[in-house]
Amino acid sequence: MTDTPLSLTLFGVAVAFYVAALVGFLAYISFRRRRVADTALALVALGWPFHVAAILTRAFEAGHWPLGNIYEYSTGISFVVVTTFLVISLRAGQRLLGVPAMILAIALMAVAYMLYVPPGNLVPALHSYWLTIHVTSMATASGLLVFSSFFAMFFLARRWADGYALATAGGASRVGGVSGGGGAAVMTSGGGGGVGGGAGGSLAGALRKLPSARTLDGWSFRFVMIGFPVWTFGVMMGAVWGEHAWGRYWGWDPKETFSFIVWVVFAIYLHARVTYGWRETRAALITVVGLVAIFADLYAVNLWIAGLHSYARA
C-alpha cells in the first residue's frame, strides 16, 4: 500500500518489537536465563520510541489530540501499559511481569489495528479541550489499574506455590516464603527452589521465583493507590465535560455506568483491605474483577451498547 500513513508504519514496528519481546519473556519462563529476560526487556525499550512516534505522528496527521476514537485510545492505553512496565522493570528489576504486560499491550494494539480508522476529523461532540483532560486521565488510569490486577494474579499464584511447597516439603522451605518474606529485598525472588517434583512442583518452583506474596500484594495495592485517584479524577472531569457539553454531569449512559462500576470495584478493594476476612485473597480477586470491568468498559460498551460515548468508529 502506498498511502499507509507514517503513524501506522511506526505502530507496526512497535508491535513487531513487542511481539519479539513477548517471545523472549516466554523463553525466560522456560529457560530461566537472566540474559534472555534482559534481551526481551531491551526489545521493549527499542519498540517504545516507535510507539511514542506512532502516537505523535498520528496526532499531526489527524490534527487533534490522539485519543478521539478506539484506534487512538487503544494505542494510548497500550502506551501507558508499556511505559509503566518499563519503569517497573528498570527500577525494580522485575522481569516476569513482561509476560502479562506484553500480552496485554499486543492485544490492545491488535484490537486497535482491527478497528483502525484513518486519521480524520473528530465528531463534533469531541471538539473540546476536555477531550485532552478527561480521556487522557481515563486512558492513564486504565493502564495503571491493570497492573494492580497483574500483581494480584502474581500474588495469588505465589500464594498457591507457597502452599504447594509447604504441603510437599512440610515446612522445609518456609524461610522467606509463606510468612511473607520478612527479610526479602524488594523485588528479588523471595525464596523457592528445591520444591518437590511433578508438573505442579515445577510450576510451583517457577512461581516461587516471584517476589514474596507480601511484596506482590504491596505492589498491587500501590497501583490501586496510583490508578484509583486518576480514575476518580477522570470520571469527575468527564462529569464536568458532560455538564458543559450536554447540560448534565451524570446520566447513567452505559459508558458512565461502567466507569462507575470500575470505580466501585476498586472502592470495594480499598475497603476490603481493611476488613477482616477480606484482605489478601479476596482483595486480590476483586482487582481481577476490576480488570474485567475495565475492559468491558473499554470495548463492550463502545462496540455493542449504543450510547452517547459511542465514538469508537468515528
Partner: protein, 487 residues
C-alpha cells in the same frame, strides 16, 4: 468536658477481629445497628449496587435508551420483567427502582454513621491534643473523602429539586419564550418555585456543514437571548458551547429538518400553515406527521367535518429511481435517500382522510398518526411526491357526485434545533465536593506514607548527626522502602 474521661476512641477499623466488647449487653436494635453500619455490610451494599448497575448497562433503560428498544425488551422478556418488578427492580428502569433507592439509602445511612462516628473521634482526639501522627492526617483525609461523597449526593438532590430540566424545539427564525408551554417535555424539581425566566430566545440560523464523508463537521445554532425585550446575548451554540444566562442554560442537543407545509381546504381557506418536525437517525431520510384537525370541510353524507393527516418522508437530497411503477399507482417516480444536504428536497406524502382521533386523547403524539379511523387517500395507500416549492392539487368528493380540489404546498425547508434547557443551582456545589473528594483521597493515600517516610528519614538524619556529622543520607535504607510499599 465529658469526652475527656472516655478512653480514646478507636480511629481505624480493627485489622483483626476484636473481642466483642459490650456486644452482649446491647439491645437487638443496637446489635442490628452495629451490623448495619459495619464496613463489611457496606461492601455488600456496594456489591448490590454494582449488580443493579450492571443490569442497567445491558438492559435498555427508559429515558436513556431509545423507547423502541425498551418496548422490544419488555415484550421479549415479559415474565422476567414482571418477576423483577415485583421484587422492586423493574429491569428497564433500574436507576429509579425501589431496590436501587433502598440500597443507595442504606449505603448513605451507613456512610453518614461512619462519618459522624469517625469525625467525633477525630475531633475528640484533636481537642485532647493527641500527637499529630501521619496516621492522624490519613484519618482526616479518609473522613474528608467520605464526607464529601455524602455531600455530593446532597448537592445533586438540592440541584435537581430546586431546578428544572426540559427539551425545547426551535425552528429557524422562530422566537420562543422560556415558559412551561414552550417545552416538548419539562421536569420541574419538587422545590422549584415555578417561576420560569420568560427569556425569549430567537434562533437566527442553524447550520450543519457536511464533510466529504457525509457526516456533519459541526452543528451550530446562532441564537439571541432577550431579557425583558432587550437582546443580551448572541451566541453560536454548539455541542461544547452552551448559552447560559442568569442560571438558565441552553444546550445544543439535536437538529433536523422542519418542512414548512401549507394546506388549503376545498373552500380555499388556509387550514394548516406550520413547520413539521422530522425525526431521523442519519438526516438523509427523515419521517414526520402532518395533522390537520380543523380542516373545515364536510364530506357528502357525513354529519361532522372531516380531518386529514399524512405520514411524511423527507429526502433532502432525493435520488429519483429510474423505474416507473405500475399503472393505477399515483406514485410514478420513487425516490431513495442521497446525502444529508438539501440539494433536491422531496417529500413523500401518504395521505389519510377521516378522524385523527385527537378527541379521545390516545393519539396526541406529534410523531405518530393513528389511522384507525381514517381511510387512505389512494386505495393502495400509496404516497405521492412533493418537491420543494411546489403545490399539489388533490380532489375530495363533493356534493352531487362532484369533486372539490384542495392543495398541499411545500413552501420552505428550514431546520429545527433541539435544545436541552435546564436550571441546576447544585452544579457549583457538586464541583466543590469533587475538589474535596480529591483532596481527601490524596491526603488519605499519599500524605500518610509521605509523612511516615519523612519522619523516618529525619530520624535517620538525627541518628547520623548524633554520631558526629550532619550530612543527610541520600536514600533511606531498604527496610524503609519495603515497609512503605507493603503497608
Amino acid at each position: 468536658m465529658a469526652t475527656a474521661t472516655r478512653p480514646p476512641a478507636r480511629l481505624t477499623r480493627p485489622t483483626a477481629r476484636p473481642p466483642r466488647r459490650g456486644a452482649r449487653g446491647r439491645t437487638s436494635l443496637g446489635r442490628f445497628w452495629h451490623q448495619y453500619t459495619r464496613m463489611r455490610t457496606a461492601i455488600y451494599f456496594l456489591m448490590g449496587i454494582l449488580g443493579i448497575v450492571l443490569i442497567g448497562t445491558f438492559v435498555p433503560q427508559q429515558f436513556s435508551s431509545a423507547d423502541q428498544k425498551v418496548t422490544e425488551f419488555v415484550a421479549a422478556h415479559q415474565n422476567l420483567n414482571d418477576l423483577f418488578t415485583h421484587l422492586g427492580l423493574p429491569l428497564t428502569s433500574v436507576f429509579v427502582s425501589p431496590l436501587f433507592y433502598v440500597l443507595l439509602a442504606s449505603l448513605y445511612i451507613a456512610l453518614l454513621s461512619c462519618v459522624i462516628t469517625r469525625g467525633r473521634a477525630l475531633v475528640g482526639r484533636t481537642l485532647r491534643g493527641y500527637p499529630r501522627s501521619p496516621q492522624y492526617w490519613g484519618e482526616w483525609g479518609s473522613w474528608l473523602f467520605h464526607t464529601s461523597f455524602f455531600l455530593l449526593v446532597v448537592a445533586v438532590v438540592f440541584g435537581k429539586a430546586t431546578g428544572f430540566d426540559g427539551i425545547m424545539t426551535i425552528t429557524e427564525g422562530q422566537r420562543v419564550a422560556e415558559t412551561p408551554a414552550s417545552y416538548d417535555t419539562l421536569q420541574e424539581g419538587m422545590l422549584f418555585d415555578g417561576r420560569h425566566s420568560g427569556y425569549v430566545v430567537h434562533l437566527n440560523s442553524f447550520r450543519a456543514p457536511l464533510q466529504s464523508n457525509g457526516m456533519p463537521s459541526d452543528f451550530v445554532s446562532n441564537m439571541t437571548l432577550y431579557d425583558s425585550g432587550r437582546p443580551v446575548v448572541t451566541k453560536d451554540v454548539r455541542v461544547n458551547e452552551f448559552l447560559g444566562y442568569n442560571g438558565v442554560d441552553f444546550y445544543q442537543q439535536d437538529y433536523g429538518w422542519a418542512p414548512h407545509l401549507l394546506v388549503r381546504n376545498p373552500a380555499g381557506e388556509v387550514v394548516s400553515d406550520t413547520d413539521i418536525q422530522m425525526i431521523s437517525d442519519n438526516k438523509t431520510a427523515s419521517t414526520g406527521v402532518l395533522k390537520v384537525p380543523d380542516y373545515n370541510y364536510t364530506l357528502p353524507g357525513q354529519s361532522k367535518p372531516t380531518q386529514i393527516g399524512a405520514k411524511l418522508v423527507l429526502y433532502p437530497d432525493a435520488q429519483a429511481l429510474p423505474q416507473v411503477s405500475g399503472t393505477g399507482n399515483a406514485l410514478n417516480v420513487s425516490y431513495a435517500p442521497g446525502t444529508a444536504a438539501a440539494n433536491n428536497p422531496v417529500l413523500e406524502v401518504q395521505l389519510f382522510v377521516g378522524n385523527l382521533g385527537l378527541d379521545n386523547g390516545s393519539s396526541q403524539d406529534v410523531f405518530s398518526l393513528d389511522t384507525g379511523a381514517m381511510t387512505p387517500y389512494y386505495a393502495s395507500a400509496a404516497a405521492f411526491a412533493l418537491p420543494l416549492h411546489q403545490t399539489t392539487t388533490l380532489q375530495l368528493p363533493a356534493a352531487n357526485n362532484g369533486t372539490a380540489g384542495f392543495t398541499i404546498s411545500f413552501v420552505d425547508l428550514p431546520q429545527f434545533s433541539l435544545f436541552h434547557v435546564k436550571k441546576d443551582n447544585g452544579v457549583p456545589l457538586v464541583y466543590t465536593t469533587f475538589i474535596l473528594t480529591m483532596v481527601g483521597l490524596l491526603t488519605k493515600l499519599y500524605l500518610r506514607p509521605f509523612l511516615e517516610r519523612r519522619r523516618r528519614r529525619r530520624r535517620t538524619v538525627l541518628q547520623a548527626g548524633g554520631r558526629g556529622g550532619s550530612q543527610v543520607l541520600e536514600s533511606p535504607p531498604t527496610t524503609v522502602r519495603e515497609e512503605v510499599l507493603t503497608r
